[in-house]
């Protein structure tokens, strides 16, 4: 690891108030942990094929530095973030953390529908039994089956959405078809019905399409840097399609893409809407205001490394409700939390570190506070 990267520091070293971490990853170490939750026909499927992982585009190459901080890679070869004890040790028990929201990027968003439904059920049941029920500080996102059967996606949301531990439905950003499109309405109806947040997160199969308008990036680093434009396309499509007028209570989080790109993008959206309004006439107020009400962004990756420059971006956002602290465990970013704590200003730090997330995800007041180690 380059010596110029910021060393790992627990947020509790820099902030002594409560913490809610809205983006903590859980990795399914292999299908063997899911077997107990699979129906017999799918156990036979798995066994016959010697199948251990879904075939999908992993957004995190196993050995890439971005995939895990060295401190978060177990020495004994266990996969990072694959066991509750690891997350307790690295995140929950570090002091100040009231809640963490688990996002499991198990890549089943594409492929045979019935298989992906079975896998989604198994992952969600596993999350409930071995994570949510095991540690009251945890909350989680529902893992969804393949999007090519929107009714099945809605059914899975309805099946588990009532569990108080599920606060969000995870929608991988590379969805091959933009999420504002009307064929997704059954999914958002279910999300609204269950009072969940729609969490748009890095990852997804993109249904085999290239992740840029001009073909395939050739390097992971190139893809990673230009990923902002994937989220930008999703955001403007959701606004343009009137998703927030069709579902007026809808909450959307955009996760693991930072937020320094947001004000400029929204200025562009406002400017063009003023003249093009009649093509999208359900938008009856400036898109920036719609996004202020309906969308939140997590802090990691921060990208900015100077608080005096980041201050401008935060001021242009025009609201201190919009940014939510995330560690993005176990992924590595060269983030320095002090940069955003300073840029945020003293009065707003509690919102950044906990209050915004509590409000957004309807979290209970802290039931237990883990002791610092």
């Amino acid at each position: 690891m380059s010596p110029t990267l910021h060393p790992l520091r627990a947020p509790s070293e820099l902030w002594d108030g409560p913490i809610v971490d809205v983006d903590v990853h859980v990795e399914v170490p292999g299908v063997e942990v899911l077997r107990p939750y699979l129906a017999p026909v799918w156990r036979q499927y798995v066994d016959e094929r010697g199948w251990s992982q879904p075939f999908g585009t992993f957004p995190y190459p196993r050995n890439s530095p971005a995939s895990a901080r060295p401190e978060w890679r177990p020495d004994d070869g266990r996969a990072p973030a694959s066991e509750l004890s690891l997350i307790q040790e690295h995140i929950l028990d570090r002091g100040g953390v009231e809640h963490a929201i688990l996002n499991c990027l198990f890549p089943i968003d594409s492929g045979p529908p019935d298989l992906s439904v079975a896998l989604a059920r198994a992952v969600n049941d596993w999350l409930v039994a071995e994570w949510l029920d095991a540690d009251p500080r945890l909350r989680a996102s529902i893992v969804l089956p393949a999007r090519n059967d929107p009714a099945a996606v809605a059914a899975e949301i309805d099946r588990v959405g009532g569990h108080p531990g599920f606060v969000q439905a995870l929608l991988p950003v590379r969805s091959g078809m933009l999420y504002g499109k009307r064929l997704y309405w059954p999914v958002f109806e279910a999300i609204e019905r269950n009072d969940l947040v729609a969490g748009i997160h890095w990852g997804g199969s993109n249904e085999g399409l290239p992740p840029t308008p001009s073909g395939w990036p050739t390097r992971y680093i190139e893809e990673y840097v230009s990923e902002i434009q994937v989220f930008e396309s999703q955001l403007i499509n959701m606004v343009a399609e009137g998703l927030f007028q069709k579902f007026p209570a809808l909450r959307v989080s955009m996760l693991e893409i930072g937020f320094t790109w947001v004000p400029m993008w929204l200025w562009d959206m406002d400017r063009n809407w003023k003249g093009i309004r009649r093509e999208v006439p359900w938008i009856s107020r400036p898109p920036f205001q719609i996004v202020r009400d309906h969308v939140r962004f997590s802090t990691a990756p921060l990208d900015a490394d100077r608080s005096e420059e980041l201050e401008h971006v935060l001021r242009w956002l025009g609201s201190d409700d919009m940014v939510l602290y995330a560690s993005d465990y176990p992924h590595m970013h060269d983030d320095d939390l002090t940069v955003i704590l300073e840029a945020m200003g003293e009065e707003s730090r509690a919102k950044l570190m906990a209050d915004n997330a509590r409000a957004w995800y309807r979290l209970d007041p802290a039931e237990t506070m883990a002791d610092g180690d």
Partner: protein, 192 residues
């Protein structure tokens, strides 16, 4: 007549100016007149007259050369409808919509001012007056007359460019004819 009537004062205390004959602006046409250096578009939309300044408050485009359209609205996606009674003049540049009656810019209908002040187009009071009444008003200085050297032109609805020049032949007024009178004092929309 033995003598030419005195040319009327160009200005009146109320800022009222005779700019054209009503017959010069038939239904679905529009005329851009220049009054005291200011270009004003007079529109005849379904028999009613409107007057809007020919400068878009956004970035200065020639507003009065744009399309006139009804109001497109929708509560939600899938429910798009047209309100034909509300007419907008749209700027030929960036397409902003302005209520042709009040000049109010429409892009922000949900938020009332002054929270989001939206730049409105200038609109002007426009009235129809008959020649007989105008004769008296002209004599008393209650109304002026547009300078006959001022440029005016029609807007071609297909090319959106002007056809002209049009000579405003309004003095002396004909007692039997009807005239378009503009009120030039600034008339920002007062009602939302």
């Amino acid at each position: 007549m033995a003598t030419e009537p005195d040319p009327p004062r160009k200005r009146s205390r109320q800022g009222r100016v005779v700019v054209a004959r009503v017959s010069d602006i038939p239904e679905n046409s529009r005329l851009i007149v220049t009054v005291r250096g200011r270009e004003i578009g007079i529109f005849n939309v379904a028999g009613k007259l409107y007057a809007i300044g020919n400068r878009c408050p956004h970035r200065g485009g020639d507003l009065c050369k744009g399309d006139i359209i009804g109001r497109v609205y929708a509560e939600r996606p899938g429910e798009v409808a047209l309100d034909p009674t509300m007419k907008f003049i749209t700027c030929p540049w960036h397409g902003w919509e302005f209520d042709i009656e009040t000049g109010q810019s429409w892009y922000d209908p949900a938020s009332p001012p002054p929270a989001t002040p939206s730049p409105d187009a200038r609109h002007f009071g426009v009235e129809v007056a008959n020649g007989a009444d105008l004769e008296a008003q002209l004599a008393e200085g209650q109304v002026g007359v547009v300078d006959e050297r001022a440029q005016a032109a029609y807007v071609d609805p297909t090319t959106h460019r002007v056809r002209g020049p049009f000579q405003a032949d309004v003095f002396p007024v004909d007692r039997d004819d009807e005239y378009v009178v503009l009120t030039l004092r600034s008339a920002r929309a007062t009602q939302r």
